[in-house]
Subunit: 299 residues, 2 copies
């Protein structure tokens, strides 16, 4: 295994930018390059110092050992097969066949919040082994290179999906990468991951968006309602600041799981509504008591 | 106006305990006494040092200038007329009539999250002027004397309801009290407060309870789901730890407002569900874009 790697991050937003910073600062990367389609974000990322150099997308594999796809999942699904194709060609006739077969040891990872569509996009590709499907479960409700920060992944979980499809050395590189970011890795099938993510991440975003819409609608007729917004409201609604470019494809790609969770959630809301409407204090108490079991899980 | 007051706090939980600590520490109170029905909480409050002395409920007016009702709203509605009755009697035949009429200058405040039922409970009482209806909008999802903390109210808003019904000197005492707690006060009618509170506080609790129930239901069939719970989920669900003793009466008393908000909220959830089910990415994007307007309001 190499001691240091050259890394290219495609997409210099919150996740990509935060990885870039710590991978270089902590010595995993000797050099970090960035690919960023938005010229303002690209200039900012360079100015802030997230990357050593911004390079064009079609150069992203030339000098990189590791390419990190940190773009919204819709774009990642489109890019992944292209990158695998290019890895497949990059060694043609220029080295021993075995070395060539593993794309000169290059590793491609993605960091998206849904995994099934990506794994499917790479399925059966001759270079499939060079791809490792990962989901570092960390972030904030902010986006863009200015939201990136050191330490964001420390102590959090990272899911690695369908690891049996990846080459052993690629997996080792990725394990090392997440170890440097202080993440504990969990292996899981992509389909299983997407169901879990719907429960512990995606639904929270939908409920926050709906809460924001509810209160904003009221605010139109009452400009002073937010004078009263307290800490509880802010924490419950904060995910509603999340970026549409990231969340539209997630909600769209993980549709079936999310619809299942929304339906269960609407049933629970209805149970509350019914108990409140009926003045059934014992019923409300039972629902709250049951919900309080979350105490033993969430610190 | 007095320089220092003797204060009795009825209910030594999160709110009452936190008020007790700062009112004494910051010099508003020369002495703080507590009334607490639960013997464990009473012993803890004394041990932690929240109050100088724990006294029985029926002594709460004897040596106090200010009595703070910090019990769940159902109990407060029951206690308030009793306390006003007792104030009315406490001066009988023992001083000039005027002094007696204002209950020896004693002030009773409550700090509950719904106000209409309390204001109604005091309506027309000969001692109504000694009562000031307040809602300091601060707190955490924890409860009990061990959750109390200094500084909890700093910089937050406190609503004072139907202030025209309170005696001028009682209001001045209460303004001074909240000034010491570093709160900005807002005056509002009780009915208006309850509608606002439903939007910016009560609904957040219901959505958090429902989210906890949804995820806990899934957890039964999958013990590992919470390995993946990230910061976003924790913040959205944290209010689901809130105490039933406090929240059952709030949801019950503010029923009509809360049902209105739940209905609007369910409509918004359904709009999301429909857009996701239809694969309508433009529709999802529009909903998220609209929800993002919360950014300019919540820091």
């Amino acid at each position: 295994m190499k001691h240091q790697y050259t890394v290219t991050v495609i997409g210099l937003g919150l996740i990509g930018g935060s990885m870039a910073v710590d991978l270089r600062r902590r010595g995993f990367a000797s050099r970090v390059m960035g690919v960023e389609a938005d010229p303002v974000n690209a200039a900012a990322a360079r100015q802030i110092g997230l990357v050593d150099q911004v390079i064009p997308y079609d150069k992203c594999l030339d000098d990189s050992d590791v390419v990190i796809l940190a773009v919204p999942v819709g774009e990642a699904v489109r890019m992944l097969p292209e990158l695998l194709d290019r890895i497949g060609k990059c060694g043609k006739g220029e080295g021993p066949e075995e070395y060539c077969r593993n794309g000169y040891g290059k590793t491609i990872i993605d960091v998206c919040s849904t995994k099934s569509a990506l794994v499917k996009a790479a399925e059966g590709h001759p270079m499939r082994g060079r791809y490792v499907s990962t989901h570092p479960m960390a972030g904030t409700e902010y986006s863009g290179p200015w939201a990136a920060m050191s330490g964001m992944f420390d102590g959090k979980a990272c899911v690695i999906c369908d690891s049996g499809e990846s080459d052993r050395d690629a997996l080792e590189t990725v394990e090392k990468l997440y170890d440097v970011l202080n993440m504990r890795t969990i292996r899981m099938e992509a389909a299983n991951h997407d169901m879990h993510a719907a429960y512990v991440s995606h639904i929270s975003h939908v409920t926050s968006f709906a809460l924001a819409l509810t209160v904003l609608k009221q605010e139109r007729s009452d400009r002073h309602i937010f004078d009263l917004a307290s800490g509880g409201f802010s924490s419950t609604v904060r995910l509603a600041k999340s970026n549409a470019d990231m969340w539209v494809p997630i909600l769209s790609q993980n549709r079936n799981n999310i619809l299942d969770v929304i339906d269960t959630y609407m049933d629970e809301m209805k149970a509350f509504r019914d108990a409140i409407a009926a003045g059934d204090e014992a019923g409300i108490r039972e629902l709250i008591g049951e919900a309080n079991r979350i105490r033993r899980i969430i610190k």
